[in-house]
Amino acid sequence: MAITMLYFAWVRERIGTGEERVAPPEAVRNVADLIDWLSQQSDGHAAAFAEPARLRAAIDQTFVPLDALLGSAREVAIFPPVTGG
């Protein structure tokens, strides 16, 4: 299952890219699993995802909690808490 990952703000900076395609294994069921798996991909990913409590997520452009199942997600975004306005 291929997923387009999007990263924003300091998550993007630590990983070194704002977008990548990934193909996680079957065992990756929810967003938290995906973050764990991605953390093993590079030092940048590990640095960006070191504190999951500081991360927020969206699946196919809808905010979700980190325990949300990926299901047939095509686009998953990981980012810090939002600070607009």
Partner: protein, 145 residues
Amino acid sequence: MIRVSVDAAPIELGVEVAALEARGAGGVATFTGVVRTDDGVEALELEHYPGMTEAALCALAEAAIDRWHLLGVTIVHRVGKMVAGERIVFVGTAAAHRREALEACAYLIDRLKTDAPFWKREWLADGTRWVEPRGTDAEAASHWL
């Protein structure tokens, strides 16, 4: 009628207010957010999630129209880099009476802070730093649930 815009161009206050007044409502309420000059911040940079941002703002506007029977909602959010004194965000509502317009305007800016994917970065004399969310923002947004 909803107008949502996420753009790097400066926000034209007079144009936005005039468009809301032209809706024929009895009252128009507006909120303007401006880049602060405190803490040695020289500029502010806004990043967003293209596509999701516009959808999130439209969803907020629709929720406000349903709740307060508005005749018009405008949400304009600037992105990119801006200096102290420049407008970051404009929220305007048009309704038959003042209470609906004022309440809906407050609701929209409170919810925008927690429900739309924007991230602020401050530019200082010696570097940049990402802005951390304030707990009071989440409290203000949850007040409307």
